[in-house]
Symmetry: C2
Subunit: 95 residues, 2 copies
């Protein structure tokens, strides 16, 4: 769980940017940015797009991590059946 947040934190830090600076681009409070990076809040898709632009990241890669977080959140509540549920889903979305 928090694939997306970790990644954008890495990207931000490697570019020596402050939370405040990224937050300003998204036009949100710094506190919210902090929550997003720590996975306490989920970024909206619009925010994801802005972040990826500002950090010069690969949008598709971020989107992938972001979706993985969503799926993991679902699964976390029913770990007993997660594996079989994933198998069912794979049949429809497998490669």
């Amino acid at each position: 769980m928090n694939n997306f947040g970790q990644k954008i934190r890495e990207l931000r830090e490697s570019q020596n940017l402050l939370l405040r600076q990224v937050a300003a681009q998204l036009e949100v409070d710094t506190a919210l940015m902090s929550k997003i990076e720590r996975g306490e809040r989920k970024a909206s898709k619009q925010q994801l797009i802005k972040i990826s632009k500002f950090l010069n990241a690969n949008e598709e890669e971020l989107l992938t991590l972001w979706l993985a977080d969503k799926i993991e959140a679902n699964i976390a509540e029913e770990p007993q059946v997660a594996y079989n549920a994933m198998k069912i889903v794979s049949k429809k979305f497998g490669k």
Copy 2:
């Protein structure tokens, strides 16, 4: 995409039960039951449990289908990256 609803409809019909009868057990409106079977509404976990009892179904099996529906709903919005996102998730929940 409506794994759960289809399954409970099958179960109900094979037992010659009316929507109204299942709805009564769950103490919900027949209209809502209809929506659940057609996947227009999601059953709550409590409802799932009651349904599975009333239809003498395997609760774990229904839970699996129900979770698969949830995951599919997430994925449907981002099919481009679905496969890779699933791969990330599998690493953590793979059998």
